[in-house]
Symmetry: C2
Subunit: 208 residues, 2 copies
DNA sequence: GATTTCCGTGATACCTTCTCACTCATGGAG
DNA sequence: CTCCATGAGTGAGAAGGTATCACGGAAATC
């Protein structure tokens, strides 16, 4: 009855993935704001309303793409989890450069009203866990007593990882610094400046 | 004839600024993607097409808002230019928190096809000049020979400032690190984590 | 006072998301 | 094998968006 390999279900799953493939192509080309259900339907030889059999709304489709993007980043992180913080940094940059709009779907400008579903917070916690593991081994960063003391009382986000406060701080710092370089690079703010962003990224990475 | 204080010109300028005020209100509330000429016109007691007398298109209006945002940031930076890098950092954070969507208009997710006009590159250069001034005085950062050697050959973006390579690197690092913390904070990526982002921001600022 | 300039409107074309009634093919049950 | 219910897809249409156009009228200018 509810067999997952029912012909109907298989067809449905295939169409869903095909819709998402077209959606990713649109997003990679012109950003998330250019995602158009009508255009996807036309590209697939269907009419617009047909897509509402597969996704409840444009926002539902976009939310699923965001979740997939988070999952993709989590997979990339997990695959590079054995290579330390440096390996994690390079994996992050490679993942971001492979599809900048996908990076922006995760870390870009949020829509004020939008609330991420519980899925992505769980995946974000998994990403943070990998980052915390990588930050546990390595040199202790410069001391920051104020922040460490504050983190000691506000460390629920470590998900029971049990890392020391300097490790928590190192993870946060790695996150924000790498995102800082990467997001400005992907947004094109370095394009007119002439230098190679990878050297700046690697300098920040080795400073960690 | 072409008097700037002609009744027509004064009225026109007033309507233009009123349109922009409504536009800022919309953007602050629901982001740049929610900017609607029709809604602005309705709020002003006009019909949609009337606004095309004042702005050539929705993109033209948005471009002007982006330019105004850059100019506002440049003004804020110039006002804080005497207070060193720490003052600049606090001025940046205050400016960003006052209107997060305005920050995202400058440093947020770009639309792939969009090209910024020459205005904003000039203003961006002015912002960079203030940052370079603030980075000239202060402790020398940790050495990074590779990046410094590369910057020595790719420093056209300093606008004839004549700063040394470590100073250029300090300015770039300050920019990317502060943007890293700030953009993640404004995007709400810290909301579920419990800690106070200002402490992380200040820690990065004092590490510079 | 006559004329020109230009603001605002309504109509229109074309796009979007999204709902709804309907048709029709297909898969599963007897 | 037959019947029927499930569900995919279509066309119409509402509501709202950008943008263009011709037109009327008010206001500034001469």
């Amino acid at each position: 009855m509810e067999d997952a390999t029912s012909p109907r279900a298989r067809y449905r799953a295939q169409v869903r993935t095909e819709i998402k493939e077209h959606a990713w192509r649109q997003i990679a080309g012109a950003g998330a704001s250019a995602l158009s259900l009508n255009a996807i339907a036309k590209n697939m030889g269907m009419t617009g309303p047909a897509l509402y059999r597969y996704f409840g709304s444009r926002d539902d489709l976009l939310t699923e793409l965001v979740t997939d993007a988070y999952r993709s980043l989590a997979d990339t992180f997990r695959a590079a989890s054995g290579e330390g913080l440096t390996g994690l940094g390079h994996a992050l940059r490679g993942w971001a450069l492979a599809d900048p709009q996908r990076y922006f779907l995760v870390y870009g400008t949020p829509v004020p009203g939008y609330h991420a579903p519980d899925d992505v917070t769980a995946i974000a916690a998994e990403i943070m866990a990998v980052l915390l593991d990588a930050c546990a081994t390595g040199p202790a960063p410069a001391p920051a007593p104020d922040l460490d003391a504050h983190l000691a009382g506000h460390r629920a986000w470590d998900g029971g990882h049990g890392a020391s406060e300097p490790v928590l701080r190192r993870a946060l710092t790695a996150w924000t610094r790498l995102h800082g370089v990467l997001s400005l690079e992907l947004a094109g703010h370095f394009t007119g400046m002439g230098f190679d962003p990878v050297l700046l990224f690697d300098a920040e990475l080795s400073a960690l």
